[in-house]
Amino acid sequence: MNERILEKLRAQLPAAVVGHEEFRGDFSVFIRKQDIVAVSKFLKDDPDLAFTMAIDVTAVDYYLPADRFEVVYHLYSLKNKKYLRLRVKVDEQDAEIPSVTGVWSSANWHERETYDMFGITFTGHPDLRRFYMPEEFEYFPLRKDFPLMGIPDSIPLPRR
């Protein structure tokens, strides 16, 4: 199954697949940033693979000088009862990635949450605003340089 996904992806979008990894039965495919929407569309619409559900979209802050973030998509195929993980490297200087909300509408809230927590902008998202934090909050809490105790006065108290 994993080989079939890779083969089909390589045949359809040869430049999109950067690499792949398997760990404890979880299959990850590394995707080039600009191809994520095309890859998502293909994986969803292909009748054999049929990854019709985007279970989760999130990010990981690896705190590296280059390619600091990785946006992670967990897909599920109802037909094959199979999970697939897509991983896309995103640099801090250019923390933008095309939104896949047009492919799976469940990505809407997941991408908002990722933006809220990591400050990664999803271009083309219909409603990209803060998800958990207040709208006037300036920081991104799940970045590794955000302290656990928070930043004093980052959420101003209402004045009397």
Partner: protein
């Protein structure tokens, strides 16, 4: 802004009529949209869920759920503690079924470590997960019925749930904040007393759930309030990432216990309940039937429960017993290392999901090989189910809002993390 403009127009209309002493003026009070704020402190929103609702008369034109009023930053807390230290926090996610969250979390860590767990522990985990599914569905049914005006059911379901909570109390010493599962096993062994209590509960449960069923399924008010309400097609639900009883009530037999098996579920005989209607009433029926299936699973597990250890023997990852820590040098050292530095997982990342009472509860763990997770993402079913709430509410009546929220059964501790 538009609403204010409209108000001014209306005011000036009234004003000119007053000035001209024109008493024939009429206007439709419902012609304008009204935006109301439902929650975060509203008794029918099941916690601190805030809904912004645009109304045309009594019809909902649009609704947007706003989250974050119970956001405690658990993913950040997880990154700053050891793997063991996060177990108590999982109780506070879905606080209606804490014990199955514990199990879901440790299963993810065990998958990361590639650890095998003794069969007895696996059976006990299935047992507590199904108990918590019954407890959670009981609250869901009771509060849904209460939202549409049937108060008696809540009292009856809470009485049943109380018995399950009492078993938790005997099993692990806590009624709600259980923290029962441990990496590689369990905190304590299942005791004959628990079996006795569970058997007593099961013997009474069938009759009691039949009472609840008879009270509601023949109740015209309840049926009328829930039928054809909050209906979404299966394709919409799939696209919106909705899982659990909501998806099964729309005809998609997705149950991770069957589709992506974990623990000893393949050895157990149970049905995946599906209905076709996809409305609030169908969700009610799915939950009702799932409770009976869970009771069926519990009976099988009681019969099959093997004897043996309830923890794996892997001292670098699994906490030693208390007696061992107090009396043996090795165990004391391991306990000290596990508490202060943590387990030694391999570098890698895993995603593991279980079928919790609300839907797919998944943990995505990124390990850098140290005792603390580099990243822990909680895929909470309540968040994803709530994301479909706006679509469900569109076109509904204002009195249907509470019935629909009740049928979605969100738990804000999990939705807000």
């Amino acid at each position: 802004m538009a609403a204010r403009l409209m108000d001014e127009q209306r005011k000036s209309q009234i004003l000119t009529a007053l000035e001209n002493q024109d008493t024939t003026i009429t206007f439709d009070a419902l012609e304008n949209d009204m935006v109301i704020n439902m929650g975060p402190q509203h008794p029918a929103t099941h916690g601190v869920l805030r809904l912004l609702v645009r109304l045309d008369g009594e019809t909902v034109v649009a609704a947007v759920p706003e989250l974050g009023y119970l956001h405690r930053g658990y993913e950040k807390i997880a990154e700053n503690g050891t793997y063991h230290e996060f177990i108590p926090h999982t109780d506070r996610l879905d606080y209606l079924s804490p014990i199955s969250n514990n199990v879901a979390y440790v299963l993810a860590i065990e998958k990361l470590c590639g650890m095998d767990v003794p069969r007895r522990a696996q059976f006990i985990r299935v047992m507590v997960s199904e108990m918590s599914r019954i407890a959670s569905h009981l609250v869901a049914l009771g509060s849904m019925a209460m939202d549409v005006g049937a108060l008696t059911v809540l009292l009856w379901t809470f009485r049943e749930r109380e018995k399950i909570v009492d078993i938790y109390d005997v099993l692990c010493g806590a009624r709600f904040t259980t923290s029962y599962a441990r990496i590689g096993g369990l905190q304590q062994d299942w005791t004959p007393q628990c079996t006795e209590m569970l058997e007593k509960f099961l013997s009474e449960f069938a009759g009691n759930v039949r009472d609840v069923e008879r009270l509601l399924t023949t109740n015209k008010i309840f049926i009328d309030r829930c039928e054809n309400v909050g209906r979404l097609s299966a394709d919409d639900l799939i696209s919106m990432g909705v899982t659990g009883p909501l998806l099964r009530a729309a005809g998609i037999p997705r149950d991770l216990r069957r589709d992506v098996p974990y623990l000893v579920y393949p050895e157990l005989d149970f049905e995946v309940i599906t209905l076709q209607e996809g409305d609030a009433l169908a969700r009610f029926y799915v939950r009702l039937a799932e409770m009976k299936e869970s009771a069926k699973i519990l009976r099988q597990v009681i019969d099959k429960l093997p004897s043996g250890p309830f923890r794996t023997d892997q001292p670098k990852k699994v906490l030693p017993t208390k007696e061992g820590t107090y009396t043996k040098m090795e165990e004391l050292i391991h306990d000290f290392m596990l508490i202060n530095i943590g387990i030694d997982p391999p570098v890698g990342q895993v995603y593991h999901a279980v079928e919790s009472s609300k839907g797919e509860l998944g943990f995505y763990v990124v390990s850098d090989g140290t005792g603390q997770p580099w990243r822990l993402k909680i895929r909470s079913p309540s968040t994803c189910n709530l994301s479909a709430l706006g679509a469900m509410l569109k076109g509904a009546m204002i009195s249907d809002i509470v019935a629909i929220i009740g049928s979605v059964d969100p738990v804000m501790g999990e939705a807000d993390k």
